[in-house]
Symmetry: C2
Subunit: 146 residues, 2 copies
């Protein structure tokens, strides 16, 4: 019954990303890159790479590579931070902002397809439960780190 909830969580998360990626590919973006862009927009421009990595859900070195690619593609830029020489802040370029507009349309359309047959009540519950699970997981990982 609930013995495969973890299993379903994984499948659902993975296949969701695959579907959206299918459409994002038409914009010339790979999964890694559009995820980074969307999260940058969500977190807010000017954040540090560490903060961005944590929100994307990858380790810093993984993000460094992706940001390098996005920078090379002229979608973002990294600026040095006068207040803290260790950090570099991340910003969208005009081209990046323009692309993001298109991406949001794609993400919304994908969401609509994937949530077909799911009531608004269920959506709300899903949202809440997912947040609980993520919070629990973070607590566990935090605890284990010691």
């Amino acid at each position: 019954m609930e013995s495969n909830l973890g299993w379903l969580m994984n499948r659902a998360g993975h296949i969701w990303r695959t579907v959206v990626d299918h459409y994002m590919a038409e914009l010339g973006l790979t999964q890694t890159r559009w995820v980074a862009l969307l999260v940058l927009d969500k977190v807010g421009e000017g954040c540090t790479q560490t903060v961005l990595a944590a929100n994307v859900g990858v380790e810093q070195p993984s993000l460094v590579r992706t940001l390098g690619q996005l920078e090379e593609a002229g979608l973002i830029e990294r600026r040095t931070n006068p207040e803290d020489g260790r950090c570099r802040t991340v910003w969208l370029t005009d081209a990046g902002r323009e692309l993001l507009g298109k991406m949001e349309v794609v993400a919304r359309d994908g969401r609509k397809l994937l949530l077909k047959g799911v009531s608004s009540e269920q959506r709300k519950m899903l949202h809440d439960v997912l947040e609980i699970i993520i919070s629990n997981a973070q607590a566990v990982l935090e605890e284990e780190r010691k």
Copy 2:
């Protein structure tokens, strides 16, 4: 509000796997390998590699590598199929079955930690909603394939 449901789905699926993996590592297993073993058990021994790959949620070549590793570790074996020379069926060895027993304990404990604070009603709804989403996604991918 619901604009980041896809985002949460992904995070939750990913972090769930990370947490369980944390404990599975103590059994000497990597994420890829324990997932394959659990799914083999769920789908049933004697299935073909294609069926197993579909259920694990990876492409065949990815699974081939993993099965090679599991076979080398003496946890599974691949047998030729007398009825269809193209297929090879996958079976657990005694060592594999024994390890699986331990893995199920780990998976159950992990699930317990991750679902803390989630009511049984919410669990049921989560289960149903995830199945709807997966089903929708499969339909979309199927459609796109044409």
